[in-house]
């Protein structure tokens, strides 16, 4: 689309993407728009809505576990709650959230492009996402009830249960297509339509993280798609694929499921690492330490992280050779993650640190993800894993990695980029207060899980022995504190969109990447002319008294 086709406002300025009126107006102007920024906003609204459903289910699960016997719901409803909580949070919230919202909105701008490579395909991914999400919610209200297998859909139970499994499996299959197409779009965008001077090593680290993530999405998502399709075929036509009573092999399902679902952890976490790599240099006013190492470590995580899936199966009776190989690879994958953490902390060293909300969440990410990652290494050891398999330790680990990692990355991104997206600033003081509620609530809620797991409390259990109750009560109180924090945080952001302080300043935080050179909020076409990219993305040298290298000398 040529820029001369855009109607200018009465001041002669190009209107922002929020005000722009194309062929369609009002709601249609949004749901039929192929503008990457509007699609990012569509995703933001949808994903946060599903997040609210997921949080509500999690809150109810914790309430149920306040007492050792039934508290508020029966065992079947409890099974459906934790399954739906997992399915929504994993497949509908954390897998798409950072690429689909912030990747869509900022990747083209960061690369000096006017849109993604395939704008229509981009809109299609959102429709697929909505269809998938709706199917999951439908499974809850239709006769038969929601899936009750846990988010892992293990056979043979997923083949035999009478609940609406087909809805949920089909939903995840469709959501997979949405994810693959987003990945494909980003790969093409990064390869093909970067600004001419935007070399690979001038790309922001957020773009690098999306690049690595997109490869994982494109390569491994088809595996889970075909696996879930086979479960549907097995349920409907009774063909023996995974169910042993039909001549199938349940371990084959586990292998194929985790071939996707372990790399999916990296689809979830790597974009959040990208956000942290953006936030830390901006709020410490320092050039990022080890740019190339951070960039390459994203690719290394993508590669090695895709080859560790069977560490979820150490207790299933795999061959000793496979157990040894997968245990070793699990230890190896910790290295690129540690490279990032060390580089971030080295960036903070002697920086002019500004403790605004985005940096607080970034620091929380490092702290919580380190706990999540290190407890993952504990489970990577074969002998310890046998003891910890299917206990609350696993539940604690996944929440520290996924919520402590991607959740904090998402909250950092919201506080960092939302003012740019809407041209309105939130109340910074309330944001900081909300952070402490979230951080304290998170740890009070999830840390007892490690202790419970170590004591032998099995996961997904409706009843539990009375000696576990104290930790369950602490955890449930934590969920209340966390919910207060989330309501405060999201309420503050939402309020800012309605009557927050208007900002037109381009560079709100003093960033060096291209999104801070465009208007606030960005115009429909992002740039009047394709930008010149002279410097790297994090050049703060003028603010730095001395580099670490100089000090070492």
């Amino acid at each position: 689309m040529a820029s001369d086709s855009i109607a200018l406002d009465h001041n002669g300025h190009e209107p922002s993407y929020l005000e722009y009126e194309g062929k369609h107006k009002g709601l249609l102007g949004w749901i039929l728009s192929t503008d990457h920024k509007r699609i990012g906003i569509l995703y933001l609204i949808s994903i946060l809505s599903f997040f609210a459903v997921g949080v509500t289910l999690g809150f109810l699960i914790r309430l149920e576990l306040l007492t050792p016997q039934g508290t508020i719901v029966g065992p079947q409803a409890y099974n459906e709650f934790f399954t739906l909580h997992g399915v929504i949070m994993i497949f509908i919230v954390v897998i798409p959230v950072i690429p689909a919202v912030f990747g869509n909105f900022f990747l083209p701008i960061m690369l000096g492009a006017k849109d993604v490579a395939f704008p229509r395909l981009n809109l299609l991914t959102w429709y697929l996402y909505i269809i998938g999400g709706t199917l999951v919610l439908l499974s809850l209200i239709l006769p038969g009830g929601a899936a009750d297998t846990g988010w892992t859909f293990y056979v043979p139970y997923s083949v035999r249960t009478g609940t609406n499994m087909i809805f949920t499996l089909t939903a995840v299959f469709i959501l997979g297509f949405s994810s693959i197409l987003t990945g494909l779009n980003f790969l093409t965008t990064i390869h093909r339509i970067r600004a001419p001077q935007m070399g690979w090593f001038k790309m922001p680290l957020f773009a690098w993280s999306l690049y690595a993530t997109s490869w994982i999405q494109v390569i491994v998502t088809p595996i889970v798609g075909i696996t879930l399709l086979m479960v549907i075929v097995e349920r409907v036509f009774h063909v023996g694929i995974f169910d042993p009573s039909l001549g199938g092999d349940p371990l084959l399902f586990q292998h194929m499921f985790w071939m996707y679902s372990h790399p999916a952890v990296y689809i979830i976490i790597v974009p959040a690492m990208g956000v942290i790599s953006e936030v830390i240099p901006v709020f410490s006013h320092r050039t990022i330490f080890g740019y190339k190492f951070i960039a390459y470590s994203s690719l290394a995580i993508a590669l090695f992280g895709s080859l560790v899936w069977a560490h979820h199966m150490f207790a299933t009776g795999m061959s000793d050779t496979a157990e040894f190989v997968f245990s070793l690879l699990t230890f190896v994958v910790a290295i690129p993650s540690a490279i990032k953490v060390f580089n971030w902390t080295a960036t903070l060293y002697k920086g002019s640190i500004e403790l605004e909300a985005p940096l607080l969440y970034a620091l929380a990410f490092i702290f919580l993800f380190s706990i999540g990652g290190l407890t993952g290494i504990i489970q990577g050891a074969l002998n310890v894993d046998i003891y910890l398999t299917d206990t609350y330790f696993i539940v604690g680990h996944i929440h520290y990695v996924v919520f402590g990692g991607t959740g904090m990355g998402l909250f950092a991104a919201l506080h960092y980029w939302l003012p740019k997206m809407f041209g309105r600033m939130y109340n910074k003081k309330v944001a900081r207060v909300a952070f402490w509620f979230v951080f304290v609530g998170f740890n009070v809620l999830y840390f007892p899980f490690f202790i419970l797991g170590w004591m032998g409390m099995p996961r997904r259990s409706y009843h539990y022995l009375p000696q576990f109750q104290t930790y369950h009560v602490i955890s449930t109180v934590g969920s209340w504190i966390l919910v207060i924090g989330l309501v405060l945080m999201l309420g503050n952001l939402l309020r800012s969109l309605i009557n927050g302080k208007k900002i037109t300043e381009r560079n709100i935080w003093g960033g060096e990447t291209l999104e801070w050179t465009v208007e606030t909020p960005p115009t429909f076409e992002n740039f009047e002319n394709i930008p010149d990219v002279i410097n790297g993305p994090y050049e703060y040298k003028q603010n730095e008294p001395a580099t670490i290298e100089e000090e070492v000398k």
């Binding site: 371990l251 084959l252 292998h255 895709s306």
Partner: protein
């Protein structure tokens, strides 16, 4: 863009030939499924699938006339899938007789 001209120079003849080859190979897959190759049955099925994928990638998806970097990435992706499959079937053959 210059490199993409090779796509347009492709005649339809090649596409039809490739399509015929794919149909024949699909027939072959169905035929060999009825023959008991023992432990090699997966390898035979995969071999046919590899030939079909190669034809689709090089001819239909024009990888033949693409930049070298694309070929490298596709190669790395395929290599990764091969490693995954090797790891999977190493374990699978352990408990399936």
């Amino acid at each position: 863009m210059e490199k993409n001209k090779a796509h347009e120079e492709h005649g339809y003849g090649m596409y039809i030939l490739v399509w015929l080859a794919l149909v024949t190979l699909t027939g072959l897959t169905a035929t060999v499924a009825g023959i008991n190759f023992g432990k090699l049955s997966i390898a035979v099925a995969l071999l046919i699938a590899v030939i079909k994928s190669y034809l689709v990638l090089t001819e239909f998806m024009h990888l033949k006339s693409e930049q070298k970097s694309f070929k490298v990435f596709v190669f790395v992706a395929l290599l990764f899938i091969c490693i995954s499959f090797t790891l999977l079937f190493t374990d699978y053959s352990f408990y399936v007789r």
